[in-house]
């Protein structure tokens, strides 16, 4: 019997030897490995001028089956191959930061806009300035500050469509309950009462994915920006704090009130984001706070139900605002050896032709980030139409978590505490102010 073991172990050690020799081989010639040639390997394998197609390595966050389709189409149009590395959205920026430290970023990255990420990535030293690209002039004026620096430098251009934060609602459920879109928080409660009477979950919350709990407050913060102009700049220079953001605080207290009055799904603490999307699409729930990127996911997973879903901004009495999440940025690391090919790729993506491919493949993507791009009205999905309607009347502010001076971390866990009655919206505001102050200080931001 021990013979069997001996044979097994022998083959094992043989395998190890083979592996070890293979190591030696790889060490000697890094180009022999399947990896994209890392920065620093002697001669780049894919220099752009040969007749062979250039392969662009491209990191993206979160998976989506339709993405491969449009990316390939655009790649084909400009004659490049794409090597797409999908990273989980939550870990994406940490990975970039680590890779930036060793100049090992892929040829094309997409990252969140805002000073915080840009500083984290050390854009000045690590990314190529794209200000001479003509498409920069086409970026929508509202979101330009998120792409064009005050000194005119451009460390990346929009690589997606604009998305918004607010509430997704199920139109069939609303009709059944005989309610219309609430225009104030009082109406939100009235609508919830009627939805409950109609046997629906009025407001769906998915605390298991705690980031989804942040949306109402972030969406409501734009009312603070509307009503106390300059509040964001003051927060960023330590002259004000989140404690001064009344609507931000009220949004979280409102969620808690909804829970107390039985308007929220009873399993909200174990529910996930995908549960929420399902509930709102199937009409089991009436309302669900989301970013409008949710529509693309619904389209991917439950295409038959997409047109049952609609969208409205966080309801506060008076003039309406809506919080916009400026699109992820396409940036080209300075370490890229294929920068010219990547520029071509981006240029085509931003052109009306490229945008057409993008929006045809992703009809629920959102609002184009480039001027002069006309969406085919007849092809628009219902929730997207409503979203565009909202953006025509409501004043837009970019989300505060992209706009603060330093990282304030994820605060969904504290919102869980609010919902369970351990803390209040004011406590959260105080906590966030504290974290922001500490992180801004560690970063050396002026005023802290």
């Amino acid at each position: 019997m021990s013979k069997v073991i001996r044979t097994a172990l022998f083959s094992l050690s043989a395998a190890a030897l083979v592996a070890a020799t293979a190591c030696g081989g790889n060490n000697a010639s890094p180009s022999g490995s399947t990896a994209t040639s890392p920065a620093g390997s002697s001669e780049p394998a894919g220099s752009a001028n040969t007749g062979k197609k250039v392969t662009i390595s491209h990191a993206v966050g979160g998976d989506s089956p339709s993405r491969d389709v449009w990316m390939k189409a655009i790649g084909e149009a400009v004659g490049v191959e794409l090597d797409i590395q999908v990273l989980p959205l939550e870990q994406m920026e940490q990975i970039y930061k680590v890779k930036a430290g060793t100049n090992d970023l892929p040829d094309l990255i997409s990252y969140h806009p805002g000073a915080r990420t840009r500083d984290d990535l050390q854009a000045k030293d690590k990314l190529i300035d794209l200000s001479d690209m003509p498409i920069v002039q086409n970026i929508l004026d509202d979101i330009k500050p998120y792409y064009v620096e005050q000194d005119g430098k451009v460390y990346g251009v929009p690589g997606q469509a604009l998305k918004f934060g607010g509430i997704a609602y199920n139109k069939k459920a609303f009709t059944e309950a005989g309610v219309s879109i609430p225009q104030s928080l009082d109406e939100l409660f009235a609508v919830s009462e009627k939805l409950k009477a109609a046997g629906k979950v009025p407001l769906y919350l998915s605390a298991k994915d705690s980031w989804t709990l942040q949306i109402p407050g972030l969406a409501a913060f734009s009312y603070d920006q509307l009503q106390s102009p300059g509040i964001l700049d003051k927060i960023n220079t330590n002259q004000a704090t989140f404690k001064d953001a009344a609507h931000f605080i009220e949004a979280f207290d409102t969620m808690k009130k909804m829970v107390d009055q039985g308007y929220v799904n009873s399993d909200y603490l174990s529910a996930t984001y995908t549960n929420g999307l399902q509930a709102i699409s199937e009409g089991k729930a009436g309302m669900y706070p989301v970013l409008t990127s949710a529509f693309s996911t619904i389209l991917d997973t439950m295409p038959d139900l997409i047109n049952d879903v609609g969208f409205f901004p966080w309801p506060v009495e008076g003039d309406k605002t809506v919080t916009v999440w400026p699109p992820m940025i396409y940036g080209i690391p300075q370490s890229s050896k294929n920068a010219d090919a990547v520029k071509k790729y981006i240029e085509f993506f931003a052109s009306s032709e490229g945008q057409k491919i993008y929006f045809d493949t992703l009809p629920a993507a959102g609002v184009p980030a480039y001027k002069g791009v006309e969406l085919d009205e007849s092809k628009l999905l219902d929730p997207v139409k409503e979203m565009i309607e909202v953006t025509k009347t409501a004043k837009q502010f970019a989300t505060v978590d992209f706009s603060v001076v330093a990282n304030m971390g994820a605060f969904g866990q504290t919102v869980q505490e609010i919902l369970m009655g351990q803390k209040s919206g004011a406590d959260l505001a105080a906590e966030l102010s504290d974290i922001l102050a500490k992180n801004a200080k560690a970063k050396g931001a002026p005023g802290f």
Binding site: M1, L9, S13, A15, A16, A35, T102
Partner: protein
């Protein structure tokens, strides 16, 4: 084994163990049965038999992610990491356990450190980059070996205590060289622990996705756990697909384990006969 003469005791024992096994088997059954349901039936998360067996769930999972590629990568990564871990750890344990001097004491401390200290991602990245190994499978293999091997050295060390030094001495007197002694005599005797370590380490490496995420940089290097992580992020509410995905990814390890079992049994019987 003379226990055969106690049938009543055996029956009671088997009954108790069977009851306990349900704690394990029911969750596995839950995974399996729900992977064959329609989305609506699966969302009840129950144990009932599906009204119709949806084998197509499995092909759907295959469609969404490039599983064949991920499979190949996972297999290459796992087997080369585990092979190097096993051989290097067994050799190191041999030196550490048999020697009684400053070296072995110092190495013992190093092993303990490896059990306790977390790997530091960022400095590790710089080291890899220094050797031009970032973005290569080999780099991840070496990291797996470095971070996972202390446990194996430790366990092999413990096991070696039970193999008497008298065997070594007899072999040396017979004119055995040190390498022959280790590879031909001691290593075969370490069979049971080696198989155990093989199973432990394959599990670690196969299921890891952090290192893959940080240290590889191409879509072509995608591994199975990473596809599952991304898949659940998107299709998390489709329990049928999620469970199908879990089964697809766990099946190879379960098969390895069932297979390895036989060797463990072989080792056991060999010991018994010798006695």
């Amino acid at each position: 084994m003379k226990t055969r003469s106690l049938p009543v005791g055996q029956i009671v024992l088997i009954a108790v163990l069977s009851a306990l096994s349900l704690l394990i088997l029911v969750p596995f059954y839950l995974i399996f049965i729900n992977s064959l349901k329609s989305p609506a039936e699966a969302s009840e998360l129950g144990l009932a038999f599906p009204s119709k067996l949806e084998w197509s769930n499995y092909s759907k999972v295959f469609e969404v992610a490039d599983l064949p590629l991920a499979f190949t990568n996972s297999i290459v990564l796992t087997f080369s990491s585990v092979a190097i871990i096993l051989i290097s750890a067994a050799m190191a344990a041999f030196a550490i356990q048999r020697r009684k001097d400053g070296w072995s004491a110092a190495l013992n401390v190093l092993v303990m450190l490896g059990l306790v200290v977390p790997p530091a991602i960022v400095p590790l990245y710089k080291v890899l980059s220094f050797f031009h190994l970032n973005g290569t499978i080999l780099g991840v293999v070496l990291i797996n070996v470095a971070t996972r091997s202390p446990l194996s050295v430790f366990l092999a060390n413990q096991f070696l205590k039970s193999i008497s030094k008298e065997i070594d001495e007899a072999a040396i007197i017979d004119g055995c060289g040190k390498y022959k002694l280790f590879f031909r005599i001691v290593l075969p005797l370490m069979g049971p622990i080696m198989v155990t370590l093989f199973v432990f380490n394959s599990t670690f490496v196969w299921n890891d996705f952090m290192y893959v995420l940080y240290f590889l940089s191409s879509g072509k290097q995608m591994t199975l756990p990473l596809t599952m992580y991304l898949f659940i992020g998107q299709f998390g509410s489709m329990w049928n697909l999620v469970f199908a995905n879990i089964l697809i990814i766990s099946a190879p390890l379960l098969i390895i384990y069932f297979f390895a079992q036989r060797f463990i049994i072989a080792g056991m019987t060999a010991g018994a006969i010798k006695g």
